[in-house]
């Protein structure tokens, strides 16, 4: 039940059309909540029906026509309610760790290459985050909003740092394994 709230947040930051939202979900917001354009359009329809957002006046709201949405007071209230409500963290779902566990039983054949690939991907993501930090967050203390945004970015950076370190360590371990393997 988070996608509608992700959209409300994005629209509050800046009223947008479906496609603009889709693009923004590929960057910033999508870093920790991704969505396809179909999910977004569907959800925009629902949110409008529920009176949380409304299409901003434009020329023709026909097909193939850009249609921007803005958040209504009810939408902002709902977002505030959801933000403040306590929620349990849901157990992580990590395929890579699962595969590693399977590999402990059926053999590590072929998984090493994928570990390497993941390492590169995480390094890339880390570099991207650090670039954003460099660009948008100087050493000075900004507004409360800035500091919150920076905090979120920090989580991304630290997470990617964890993954790159762990994957590096895992690959080292594999070196050692291949010499002494043979169960």
């Amino acid at each position: 039940m988070s996608l509608p709230h992700a959209i409300l947040t994005a629209l509050l930051e800046k009223p947008s059309s479906g496609l603009e939202l889709t693009r923004r979900f590929d960057r910033s917001i999508g870093y920790f909540w991704s969505a396809t354009h179909q999910q977004i359009y569907r959800e925009l329809g629902k949110l409008e029906a529920e009176g949380y957002i409304r299409a901003l006046p434009s020329q023709q709201p026909t097909r193939g026509q850009k249609k921007s949405y803005g958040v209504l007071p009810a939408g902002r209230a709902e977002l505030a309610r959801w933000t403040a409500a306590s929620q349990d963290p849901k157990p992580p779902r990590d395929t890579l760790l699962l595969r590693l566990r399977a590999a402990a039983v059926v053999g590590t054949e072929g998984i090493e290459a994928d570990l390497r690939r993941h390492l590169v991907l995480h390094q890339r993501q880390l570099a991207e985050y650090e670039e954003i930090e460099q660009r948008d967050f100087g050493p000075g203390r900004g507004t409360a909003q800035d500091r919150l945004q920076h905090l979120i970015l920090r989580a991304g950076i630290d997470l990617e740092t964890f993954w790159t370190r762990w994957l590096t360590h895992a690959l080292e371990e594999f070196e050692g394994l291949s010499t002494a393997e043979g169960s």
Copy 2:
């Protein structure tokens, strides 16, 4: 498409009934791939129909009767195939970070308590992992299997460490925010 493979892994480690699997998904495997008993029973049915597992001979396979499953060669082959196949990491979905981002727009009212709650939960999980490490993984280098298992546990420990640190930092930041807030 990971649940069936999680189940195959679990069954290879030890043939089990649906309920036993459910219990094990609440511990070890569930640490990075959780599942409810309904998911598991449904999946067991499918896996059996596909010829990947089979019910081990017992008394009456009627209702309310324990039914253990073992993995067939085809199942092991499928698991090996899946383990070796390259897979893209799927973008994380984190509600807490999303809420923080929403809070940057609609206000941080009420979210601090939940951060504190999450911190406690992550600390607890971390303690649990460290206990397991203490108990199951001594200083000596074990078999290749042991080292893989330890590697996976390490990921859990480092992840929880990241969260506790980050949440602690976030709460500190909130202290500073409340004094200078007012946008």
